[in-house]
């Protein structure tokens, strides 16, 4: 059976980190599987964890009164779900729901934060990775907002 550190090594968000850093990260992680329809995170709940998707598909959405559940984006193998664990008040902003059977590494946010605080060089490397993901997602969201398939040239 693979160790958590092996699974961490396979995930793109942790690519090119050295073994020591990966061991540090793996110490806060566990293997978690979600059934189709199951929630990874619920809007407004405490953001204790984040998830690195190994296999499967997850929708990020919110409930719109009178309209139902709107899906804002879907995430797949290689993506990460959740960054609210990084910033106070550590509350989840959106529902994250498995669309198909989804295998993840779930990380304890408080555990990782403590490691980042006590080893700022490690913390910087980790936060840089999350900042890159956040930038990619923000740019994609801006494009979505453009409604580019409308009457544009």
């Amino acid at each position: 059976m693979k160790r958590i550190a092996d699974l961490v090594a396979e995930h793109p968000i942790f690519a090119d980190l050295d073994d020591a850093d990966r061991e540090l990260i793996a110490g806060c992680g566990r293997n978690v599987t979600f059934k189709p329809g199951e929630l990874l995170t619920r809007e407004g709940a405490a953001a204790n964890e984040f998830f690195a998707i190994r296999k499967g598909k997850v929708s990020i959405g919110t409930h719109v009164p009178h309209l139902g559940d709107a899906v804002i984006e879907t995430l797949d193998a290689g993506d990460v779900v959740g960054w609210s664990w990084l910033f106070p008040p550590y509350r989840t902003h959106f529902d994250a729901r498995a669309i198909v059977a989804t295998h993840t590494i779930a990380f304890d946010g408080a555990c990782l934060r403590t490691k980042c605080e006590s080893d700022p060089a490690f913390g910087y490397k980790l936060i840089k990775r999350f900042a890159a993901v956040m930038m990619d997602r923000m740019q994609a969201t801006r494009l979505q907002l453009l409604d580019m398939y409308g009457n544009w040239r």
Binding site: G68, R97, I99, M148, Y149, R153
Partner: protein, 277 residues
């Protein structure tokens, strides 16, 4: 390949609509059966004239191996396209063409293909897809990434489902917005690039859709390592003559009607950064 060049390129042929099919609330496909057929290359367009209203460029969206049927898919956005979409069977439409450059389907043989189509952009690229499917063994991996506003307004849904059923092509579809009933991808089409399987060193990319989409698609493709001279985009500009005489469609030093609509991205990359060209 021979194309059906008209002796006087400004003179339309008068063709009757033989079939009209509603694709989406604002988008219709018209079929014509021109005498002697209508050979064309994938990516080429015709000027379509709605009598008394006006003439607009529209790509040919049918199968280049079946020139006996001329097919156009048109989205009603203004006076002329509305009139064309309303043209039922028996209505006469003026058609001249085919014009312009083609998707380099032959030059791309031997390598991988990455095709990105957004919204109505699937129509101009469909002839290239038909050609690729008919000549599948000549290509390496083929990935088709399709983007749309929402699941209800995806173009050619039945056909896309069929393509997804093939074992020899990877087809991914994504929409900008949806609810839980849609089990597919939600997000911009450009985000699918990093998930597609291709070897950038031998990949040719075709991109067709709104200009804002392919601005960002080309950024993703360059990031993925596909060279700009192997990335092809189909440009749209207002046209009048469509044969390189009037300058209406000028894009920098080029005329979209004659030097395009399909351009290698390295040729126009510089212009992409200049607004309102």
């Amino acid at each position: 390949m021979e194309t059906g060049a008209n002796p006087n390129p400004m003179l339309p042929k008068f063709l009757r609509v033989v079939k009209r099919h509603r694709e989406l609330p604002d988008t219709w496909t018209l079929d014509f059966d021109p005498v002697g057929g209508f050979p064309f290359l994938p990516g080429q367009f015709n000027m379509m004239y709605a009598f008394g209203i006006g003439e607009v460029p529209v790509s040919i969206s049918g199968d280049p191996a079946r020139p006996e049927t001329l097919v156009h898919t048109i989205r009603a956005v203004g006076k002329v396209t509305e009139a064309l979409c309303a043209a039922g069977p028996g209505t006469e439409v003026g058609i001249r063409g085919p014009y312009g450059t083609a998707w380099p389907v032959v030059e791309a043989e031997g390598g991988d293909l990455l095709i990105i189509a957004g919204g109505i952009g699937l129509a101009p690229i469909r002839p290239a897809l038909y050609h690729i499917f008919a000549n599948r063994s000549k290509y390496g991996r083929v990935s088709i990434l399709i983007g749309g506003r929402s699941p209800e307004v995806l173009l050619y849904p039945a056909e896309v489902r069929q393509w997804r059923g093939r074992f020899d092509v990877e087809v991914e579809v994504t929409v900008d917005t949806s609810n839980q009933a849609w089990r597919g991808n939600v997000g911009v089409v450009t985000s699918l690039v990093r998930r597609a399987s291709f070897d950038p060193a031998v990949t040719t990319a075709f991109v067709c859709g709104p200009e804002v989409m392919f601005r960002y698609a080309t950024i993703e493709l360059t990031k993925a390592g596909i060279s700009p001279n192997r990335t092809f985009v189909s440009m749209e500009r207002n046209m009048k003559c469509a044969i390189g005489l009037c300058g209406h469609c000028q894009y920098g030093p080029d005329f979209v009607c004659k030097d395009g609509p399909v351009f290698a991205f390295d040729k126009i990359e510089r212009l992409f950064r200049i607004r309102e060209v």
